[in-house]
């Protein structure tokens, strides 16, 4: 196997997605309607390849230590591998849910109906799926990012396509308003974390987070910080403020306080499948980035950062839940619930890998909690928005409590899917949300610090509050008067997608351990940025790479 082949295998999924995106882009402009309709299929195939490819690759060549899997700025970490598979799998479900979204646009309906002559300037099918894949690729790149530059680019690649998808998938003034808010505030957030990155670079002098392409000699943010912390020096203000700004800027993507304000408006304005997309993809990218960034500091986090995150976590879950209580629109309530769930995940971020001990055989780190919760939230969120997307009220999207009232009597299966997802969001056993919350809160609890225990208590109270509005949705579905005006949109794919997600919520809740997920998690959460597979051309130098902290000092000695 050539060196280049190895390197490219690391970004294989992203490359497959990019190629798929380009194909969608071109075929979306095809003259034949049948070819144009094949674009979602291509997107699906490329996502499947993303899942199967790496597995086949590693099955064909079990990775031995001392082999290269490090591509300039991107690292093949177990966490990245886990997140890539997660993103691709949930992306596949998202694809099912948004399979017919472009078809529902007025101009496309018009074209289909009138049989008008083909006009490449009017069709928007291919682009939608192209941007869909691009955004997923961006999220995957975030997971494997190993440098500030790369993180910045990957975050941009995640979010830029979402702006376009947001405004083009719904022809309504609401969607345009949502886009202008999302985009402009997003640009503000980008500027903020960019300034944060600048300060981090300023403090440490490097942009690489964990590993450098030049394994010998150059420092990384992690090694520099580790050295400072080892020597007991106070961390420079520039680093702390830079980290703070970077976290705050990225917290726009995860919709955490104070960068959450856009969330409800944007989720409401977006078309429902798009909302499901927005609630998962940027959030995953954001959390991956946060884990990677904070991993350079190491857990327990420095006090100022921990204090900030603590306050953010408390505010995020509380604001999300109390505002969720106030809503008359189910979509908005779920948007606020999305905020609240980010708050829960911040708990895991705070706990970090503090509870990990060497040789520990079980999942017990907050990082693992976050990774698992991303899956748990991903499926539950997708199922609930998918069900919402299956309903129409006089051709408009259903979104109020009234619209879903009595759903059980008209569409018992949609109601059951919704119920499962809501129960999972509440965190009731044996659904995946319960396991997710345990994995998130237990590590924080086991740190034994009073602040963390209080945080867990607050999180539990918040879970109880959130149950009120989730159960209100469930009550409307099961006990409300059915509304005749609401009808099911004939969307087999969308319903299948949510159905699979709901099933996954049950199956993962019972069998996360049996499916090997916990083992994967334990590996993935071992240490953010830790490259298990070392470059091949440092053979004989493994000892040095294992203990990265003495590399900079070795070179520093020569200065």
């Amino acid at each position: 196997m050539t060196l280049m082949g190895e390197k490219l295998a690391t970004i294989g999924p992203e490359m497959v997605l990019s190629v798929g995106a380009l194909l969608c882009l071109f075929l979306g402009l095809a003259r034949s309607a049948r070819v144009r309709h094949a674009t979602p299929l291509i997107a699906g195939v490329s996502l499947v390849l993303c899942i199967v490819g790496p597995m086949a690759w590693s099955a064909a060549r079990p990775a031995a230590p001392g082999e290269i899997a490090l591509v300039l700025g991107l690292a093949a970490t177990p966490m990245a591998a886990f997140l890539k598979i997660t993103i691709a799998s949930i992306g596949l479900l998202l694809l099912l849910v948004s399979y017919r979204t472009p078809d529902q646009l007025p101009q496309n309906i018009e074209i289909e109906r009138s049989g008008a002559a083909f006009d490449p300037g009017q069709t928007t099918r291919g682009e939608f799926f192209a941007f869909f894949l691009m955004s997923l690729a961006g999220a995957m790149l975030c997971a494997g990012a190993d440098g500030l530059v790369w993180l910045f680019l990957a975050l941009e690649l995640t979010s830029l396509p979402t702006y376009i998808m947001l405004v083009t998938t719904r022809q309504s003034t609401l969607a345009r308003e949502a886009t202008v808010k999302y985009f402009f505030l997003g640009a503000l957030a980008v500027a903020m974390f960019l300034y944060g990155f600048t300060l981090i670079y300023g403090a440490t002098g490097v942009t690489q987070l964990y590993t450098t392409p030049v394994t010998e000699g150059l420092a990384t943010v992690q090694s520099v910080v580790a050295e400072w912390r080892q020597e007991g020096q106070p961390l420079p203000l520039m680093l702390l403020v830079g980290m703070g700004l970077a976290i705050l800027g990225i917290s726009f993507k995860i919709a955490a306080v104070p960068m959450h304000l856009y969330t409800a408006d944007v989720y409401q304005g977006a078309t429902t499948p798009m909302t499901a997309f927005l609630a998962f993809v940027p959030k995953t990218a954001g959390f991956a980035s946060l884990v990677l960034l904070l991993g350079t500091l190491g857990w327990p986090l420095p006090e100022p950062i921990a204090a900030m995150l603590w306050i953010m976590a408390v505010l995020t879950m509380t604001v999300g839940n109390v505002l969720g209580l106030m809503q008359t629109s189910v979509k908005r309530a779920l948007a606020y619930s999305s905020i609240a769930h980010s708050g829960y995940m911040l708990v895991g971020l705070l706990a970090g890998s503090a509870a990990m001990e060497a040789g520990q055989p079980v999942v017990a780190s907050g990082i693992a909690g976050i990774l698992f919760y991303l899956v748990a939230y991903g499926v539950a969120n997708l199922a609930s928005f998918g069900v919402l997307g299956c309903l129409k009220r006089q051709g408009e999207e259903a979104e109020t409590y009234q619209d879903i009232s009595g759903l059980h009597h008209r569409h018992p299966w949609l109601a059951a899917i919704m119920l499962i997802s809501l129960l999972s969001l509440i965190g009731l056993p044996p659904l995946v949300g319960f396991l997710g919350k345990i994995y998130l809160f237990a590590p924080a609890f086991f740190t034994g610090e009073p602040a963390m225990i209080w945080l867990v208590v607050i999180a539990l109270i918040n879970s109880a509050i959130s149950a009120v509005y989730y159960l209100r949705i469930a009550a409307a579905i099961y006990f409300g008067q059915p509304s005749e005006e609401v009808e099911r949109d004939e969307q087999t794919a969308r319903m299948t997608g949510s159905g699979i997600a709901a099933t996954a919520a049950v199956v993962l809740g019972l069998g996360a351990g049996a499916l090997g997920l916990t083992d994967m998690l334990a590996k993935a959460a071992d240490q953010p940025g830790k490259v298990l597979i070392q470059p091949a051309d440092t053979d004989g130098d493994e000892a040095a790479s294992e203990d990265r902290s003495n590399i900079p000092s070795a070179t520093a000695g020569r200065n």
Binding site: L185, P258, L261, I438
Partner: protein, 729 residues
């Protein structure tokens, strides 16, 4: 078969539930739900009976070893199915990576870790467990588990076969079997679970299946109300149970049952306040689930569900889970001086109380519902003793009761089926010729329930009473209160045959007279008649005798024969094996006051003779008043109009609850409005409104203006950065 095979038992049912779920999609597919479910439950039964015994600890002569004084790790085997919750808990190892070999090493190792504890792990020596939370899908197989599996899967498969006939043609055929499969999954998980979290999960899921099935005819308002009532009443109990589990975890740093029991029974264990409270909290859960005073009110109403469900869930299996739980965690109850007496008292009083109500009910299913409550009271009385024989009696009664009560419910289902939902015993009479099989099958059930000598109920009930009197008259430590309970049990033993045979004589003996019910088919109101020549036996039957009560189909009768055989003979066949099982289970590991290890022969004989006479008397009384001379019965009833009205109205307990909880708020509204608003309402409102208040405060931030959002974000960022600067320096 290897013992590790038992780990498949719950999952077979889950798979069946999934398949039935899929079958729900098409009406035409629904017919396959029954074979799938029956196969699954029967397969579970076979696996359990073949695999589980190989995991039990045996004596040299091949008998199941006596559990007294043994470690729970020895008498049972833990089989791990899948990882579930596994946080932080791990075994500490010595420096060289090996587990500690001696106690000294283990002690030294434990000192190095915070709140670590030493566990004796059988022949493997010691392990030092560093605390965390470990709750996996792993199963603890001991004789008690085996007994419960026998009941759950055995009765379950019979009821499922019956249900296949009973529910035929119902719109929600597959839905019914999906719920039954879920129930079996939950129930088997619960009885096999090796940790309290899994036990609680199963506990909640059987509850869920129960509500689903009570509310099966969700369009009937009474069914929906009954489901709601069951839900609310059980929440009270489950809250206590959850708190109990939490307290147990706080006390023992683990939720794994065998470890908890090992610690609770170890001689070094010193009980503290938590040990006093744990059983009471756990007991609350048991009272709710097993419908004991004061949380019994939901069970009679739960008969709104389809009759097979009543038989399976609300008579044979689920309601006994409280008994099971007390038996399983018996050592915890023994650690608290007042816990077991409380259990026994509640059991004894409930047994009597419910039996009196049952004597005056007219609805066949209601009678059996109160009878169930009463018999559960017996079981509580049994497991509430500190005596082996009584515990054995309680658990044995659990088994025999499962047989005869399931039989009774199913035969009453036959009656219901044949008479279009008519269950009022005043409106049915002399059906023995129309429904001969049902008649004699029900007789078998009634005899067993009445504890007629040599039937199954006779042996198990006597075992309980013998145990009670033994404890009460013990030479070393007599406790007269138990004598009172024993006498109460004997009185109940008179009432039981009376109400059982009252119903039977009414319905099957006497002149043939009946009023058909109004329901189309059994208790199924939205039953759609399948049309065409291929429609099933029952339906042909149904059409042929539309105006007459008719016998049920063979599919429904076949399982009843098995149950009847059980109800009659399981007492003789099962006495020794069950005793062996119970004495080898964790329920008795610390229960073994020497003088009380096995029953006193004389006492046993006296009680057996006495209760045999009492049972016969009860039957004769019922025969006189309700068969031979119904007019006399009527006269007596008229004379006793007052007391009977009390009983008919179930002591007005529902009304008292209504009066005690609902009315004061309404009736004394004017007077107590202020207090009520301030204290009760105020608190409720505070918890309700605090989040809303916060929401109102936070809402203006969502003004909808882009710039406002930008400014708020900026302000937030500035404040947080300020925080960083302040915290850093």
């Amino acid at each position: 078969m290897d013992v590790s095979m038992v780990k498949w038992i719950p999952w077979i049912s889950l798979l069946s539930a999934a398949i039935c779920g899929v079958l729900c999609f098409r009406r035409a597919w629904g017919v396959w739900a029954a074979p799938v479910t029956i196969t699954a439950i029967a397969a579970s039964f076979v696996v359990a009976m073949l695999a589980a015994p190989s995991g039990l600890l045996r004596d040299d002569d091949g008998r199941i070893a006596d559990a007294l004084g043994k470690s729970p790790h020895d008498i049972g085997q833990t089989v791990k199915a899948i990882d579930w919750i596994n946080l932080n808990e791990r075994d500490a190892l010595m420096d060289d990576g090996s587990p500690p070999a001696t106690l000294e090493e283990a002690r030294g190792l434990a000192d190095q870790h915070q709140s670590a504890r030493i566990i004796e792990s059988g022949e493997a020596g010691y392990s030092v467990r560093v605390p965390g939370l470990s709750a996996n899908f792993s199963y603890y197989i001991d004789p008690l588990t085996l007994l419960m599996l026998f009941v759950v899967c055995g009765i379950g498969s019979l009821v499922a076969i019956y249900g296949a006939g009973y529910m035929k043609g119902d719109k929600g055929y597959a839905r019914f079997f999906a719920a039954v499969s879920i129930f079996i999954f939950a129930m088997t998980s619960m009885v096999m679970g090796d940790n309290l979290v899994l036990l609680f999960l199963g506990w909640e899921m059987v509850g869920l299946a129960s509500y689903l099935l009570i509310g099966y005819y969700f369009k009937k308002p009474s069914a929906a109300a009954a489901a709601r009532k069951a839900f609310i009443v059980n929440r009270i109990g489950d809250l206590g149970f959850a708190l109990g589990i939490f307290l147990t975890y706080m006390r023992y740093d683990t939720v794994v049952i065998s470890e908890v029991l090992a610690m609770a029974t170890s001689p070094e264990h010193v009980a503290d306040w938590r040990d006093y409270w744990i059983p009471f909290l756990l007991m609350l859960g048991a009272l709710g689930k097993s419908a004991q005073i004061p949380l019994y009110v939901w069970l009679p109403d739960a008969m709104e569900g389809p009759t097979p469900v009543s038989a399976l869930i609300h008579a044979a299996t689920m309601v006994t889970s409280g008994v099971y739980m007390i038996a399983r965690l018996h050592p915890l109850f023994e650690n608290s001086p007042y816990a077991l007496p409380t259990v026994a008292t509640i059991g004894g009083v409930t047994a009597f109380f419910a039996a009196t109500i049952a004597t005056s009910q007219f609805d066949l299913k209601k009678i059996y519902a109160y009878s169930t409550v009463s018999q559960l009271g017996y079981m509580f009385l049994g497991v509430g003793m500190g005596v082996r024989y009584a515990i054995f009696g309680g658990l044995f009664h659990l088994l025999t009761h499962a047989f005869f009560k399931a039989l009774l419910f199913l035969t009453s289902g036959n009656v219901m089926h044949g008479t279009h939902g008519q269950l009022d015993i005043r409106k049915l009479s002399g059906l023995r010729h129309l429904m001969p099989f049902t008649c004699w099958l029900m007789l078998a059930g009634c005899l067993s329930l009445a504890a007629f000598p040599l039937t199954a109920g006779f042996f198990s009930k006597d075992a309980i009473l013998v145990g009670v009197f033994e404890q009460g008259l013990a030479e070393t430590d007599p406790n007269r209160w138990y004598v009172v309970l024993g006498v109460l049990g004997l009185v109940t033993a008179f009432l039981t045959p009376f109400y059982a045979f009252r119903a039977w004589f009414r319905v099957f003996m006497g002149p043939e007279k009946y009023e058909m019910g109004t329901e189309a088919h059994g208790d199924e109101e939205e039953h759609a008649h399948p049309s065409g020549a291929d429609s099933h036996l029952i339906d042909e039957d149904h059409h042929a005798h539309d105006d007459k009560p008719h016998e049920a189909s063979w599919l429904m009768l076949a399982p009843l024969f098995v149950l009847a055989l059980g109800a009659l003979f399981v007492g003789i066949i099962g006495y020794k094996p069950v005793k062996e099982l119970v004495e080898g289970s964790t329920a008795v590991i610390s229960t073994g006051k020497e003088s009380l290890i096995s029953a006193d022969l004389n006492l046993t004989l006296i009680i057996q003779i006495a209760s045999g006479i009492i049972a016969t008397l009860g039957i004769l009384t019922a025969a006189y008043f309700h068969w031979l001379n119904r007019q006399a019965g009527q006269n007596l009833a008229d004379r006793l109009a007052g007391p009977i009205r009390v009983l008919e109205n179930k002591y007005w307990v529902d009304e008292i609850y209504d009066l005690a909880i609902v009315k004061p708020l309404r009736l004394l509204g004017w007077i107590f409005q202020l207090v009520d608003t301030l204290l009760v309402g105020g608190l409720v409102k505070l918890f309700g409104w605090l989040p809303r208040l916060l929401g109102q405060l936070a809402r203006p931030s969502q003004s909808g203006v882009l710039h406002g959002y930008g400014l708020s974000m900026l302000a937030g960022v500035a404040l947080l950065v300020l925080l960083i600067l302040l915290a850093a320096r």
